[in-house]
């Protein structure tokens, strides 16, 4: 088994970070995830996920003030290693989706 498999939630956090470009910090990530998935997202979960991703070298962060001014925030960006990991995940997803839609009929889990 490959060591660096992306969990579903980490995957979502990385995707949201990419969508937010330079504006990705924990609050904006929470709001973005809530907006897109339509579910409540726990900031604590995002915080932990970001720290783990950073430890694994898949994301990097810096402290800076927002362009509109105010307190410093910890902004995140996806590193090249993170991008590789996402590409790999995407490839697997696509490969897996190939020809298995019938299994995922409504009602089965």
């Amino acid at each position: 088994m490959p060591k660096d498999v992306l969990g579903e939630f980490e995957h979502q956090v990385l995707l949201a970070a990419l969508r937010l470009k330079d504006g990705a910090y924990s609050t904006s990530l929470v709001l973005e995830l809530e907006r897109v998935t339509g579910r409540d997202v726990a900031p604590a979960a995002v915080y932990i996920a970001l720290r783990r991703l950073e430890e694994g070298g898949f994301a990097a962060s810096e402290l800076r003030a927002p362009p509109e001014g105010g307190r410093e925030r910890r902004y995140f960006r996806v590193t090249p290693a993170g991008l590789d990991l996402m590409r790999e995940s995407r490839r697997r997803y696509v490969a897996l989706w190939d020809g298995v839609e019938t299994i995922l009929e409504p009602g089965s889990s």
Binding site: G7, Y25, T27, I48, R73, R74, L96
Partner: protein, 914 residues
Amino acid sequence: MRPDTGPGPSGGRPRTHAPPPPRVAAATLRRALPPEDRAVFPAELDELYRLRLRARGPARARWWYRRQVAELILRRLWTSARRVTTTTMEWTTDMDALRRDLAYAARRLIRSPGFTFVAVLSLALGIGANTAMFSLVNAVLLRELPVDDVDRLVEVYTGEDDGYPYATSSHPDYLDLRAAAVGGEGPLSNVIGSRTVLARLDRDGEPQVVMGELVSWDYFRELGVPMALGRSFTADEDATPGTHPVVVLAHRTWVNDFGGDPDIVGRTVRVSGRPFTVVGVVDEAWNGTLPVVVTQVYAPLMMTNQFMEGGIDQLSRRGSRSMFLKGRLREGATPEQADAWLASFATGLEERYPETNTGHAMAALSSADVALHPLVDGVLAPVAGGLLAVVGLVLLIACANLASFLLARAEDRRTEIAMRLALGAGRGALVRQLLVETTLLALLGGAAGVLLAHWTLGLVMAFQPPIPVPISVDVGLDTTVLVFTGAVSVVAGVLFGLAPALRATNPDVAPTLKLGDAAARRGRRFDLRRTLVAAQISLSFVLLVGAGLFVRSLQKARAIDPGFDTGPAALVWPMSELSGYETARERADLALRIRGALEADPRIEAVAMADRLPLGAAVQTGAYGLPDVPPSERPSGLHDIDNARVAPGYFEAMGVEVVQGRAFTDDDLEGERLAVVSRAFVDRYYPGEDVTGRRVDRGGGESVRIVGVAADTKVRTLGEAPRPFVYELADEATLGSLEFVVRGEGTGDELLARTLEVVDGIDPDLVFLETKTMDEHLALLLFPPRMAAGLLTVFGGLALLLAAVGIWGVVSHAVARRTREVGIRVSLGASAREVVGLLVGSGMRLVGFGVGVGLLLAVAAVVPLSNYLYGIERLDLVTFAGIPAVLGAVALAAAWFPARRAARVDPMRALRSE
């Protein structure tokens, strides 16, 4: 509705009015974060908090904030714990994972009710058997006395002069010991004493024999046993013999016999024919000094002679040892110090009272280490261990069953699991989810098992040993038992869930996804399942062999000739000293009157009287000085020989032949002391001699003259070698305390009714120590093998049932999985019969293998049983040949029923099935 709780972001209040986040939670959050994030993350969380505040109102926002803080702390703990335990980056970052897993598992279980039912049932059987057995062991061996500070309590014993260290003590020794402890500086601060006796308690004029206990006045106080009503005894009440007729009632006696009368204190009750004033009712949790045996009434030690009668002053005789003593350790003293102190104290007693105390050492054991008595514990512990091992095997079989089912399910779920693995689900998370499912099953099984245990215990308690003393084994499901069951359930869940979970999540994903189920069908996975079923069969085989051996042994035991007439008879043991017959003369007269009345009845043929019957529960020996025989090892040189006191007519009524000399006659009652000895006595001590006319010494200058030799009977157990035995003729002092054995027409029950009727005609107020038939008397002897046979048969049957379910499962799963193969075979011309044969055959190969292994295990397992078996070898051929036949037949049926379904496979449908 308050305006600020209204939904929607349109509130738009100024920020300054917004309530801040909960203070305590915010402070906690800062402390929980790593230093570099303390400035940043709280501010970001505040931002989201304010958004919530606007959207959902302050109450819900504050609640939300607190939850986030709690989650963050738990998540940090979780991830740091995981960082230590795992190297893979499986980040299940959802805090609700466990709850979700539980919900998911519950849904899956509900969706397959058949599987769930069988799984929970087999686990319930396994866990239930374990819970029941553990409750028993817990009640008898593990439960601590409900007393204060049991660690500072020691059991004090006086040794026998033959070297056995843990026997009872005498009252004068006790008084000296207590004085030395209380007044001295030794390791013991106090010693309390008690003596259990049978007493007669009259309730509404209705006499009954009860267990009574005479206790030192400070007994309850020192143990810390509270009174439910009234008070315990005072020092005054235990100061002078016979002057304070007061009793404390057991809680159960108060409720059962006196209707829980709230005004019981101060009432008078009659104990052993005398009025006693009730001063208290002891706490419900206290059952008496001896576990298992229930004490019903307590009195001060100084009332001993009023309770016991019988003319012997138990309080003043230093050589009459029948008290249980407990010592309280001083702060910091150890049981070992107490033991050493007692040893030197006993040496002092030996010097002062050489007549009575020579060779009687004293010893102490920590009360926490003694369950019943060192001697009994030594016997019970291996039996308890054996029983727990047996039920452990049953549980193991149930787990194997479940593991096997789950393996099958895991195979069915391979596609789903492979998919989830490929989608990035961590293997750990999947394993955890599967384990949650099995643990949930196990907990359900455990809950059902507790109910089942309740029922099983009823069954086990039905094996109440036929002894005349009220017995209570409190097998309630207390915390210890429930903790045990919970632990067993969780261990079982992990045990039967882990292997299937690891297999199912084997990350060898590609072949499964590419080839579908076909890939999963062959190879080791299926072998593991079959191995489990074979293991089940092996284990059930072992249990069944055990059951078979005991059943056979029981049959054999029934066929052993005990040397006396075991035909119908009534056995009644009147207690005339508890029934108002004060002198030995009165009691002897009463006994002779009863015998006369019985013999006058035309339907009664013979009456034997003895203070001990062969194969009874009691062991009784006398010390004999045998002229011309080398002295024994004991300091006195006397020989301990089993004996009984009997009345004239004994040998005739018991059907024991007198092979030499003569039996006793009524004329002998007035003369010198006579004895009849057993043939084994002659063979052992005077081989080849005519012993009639010889005198043997009885100590104290007395002797008995041998007048005859009787054929041997079994004395203590059926399996024993002929045992030397002395029948002494009862004299006036003992004649009144003998048990009657009544022979005549009809069944034992009819004889018993007839006998009681006759006795009733002489004295309707007489109480009895026991009334029973000969069959019941013999049942006591067969109690251990009967209980062993019964329990092993139940558990062996259970194991067989579980194994049959296992075989059924494997074969029916094989039928389902091999539908396509069967279709091909049928379409190529295989007959239904051949197909069924194929499937049954594969099932039966497992059985053959399992039986083979089981045979080897059984041969090893029966080795420790040989001591408990009568009349058969432990490798009894009938058992070892019969059990495989039984098992084979059951297995065949279990395989055949599901296999039959394969014969109905429609080949076209089967070929399309994938």
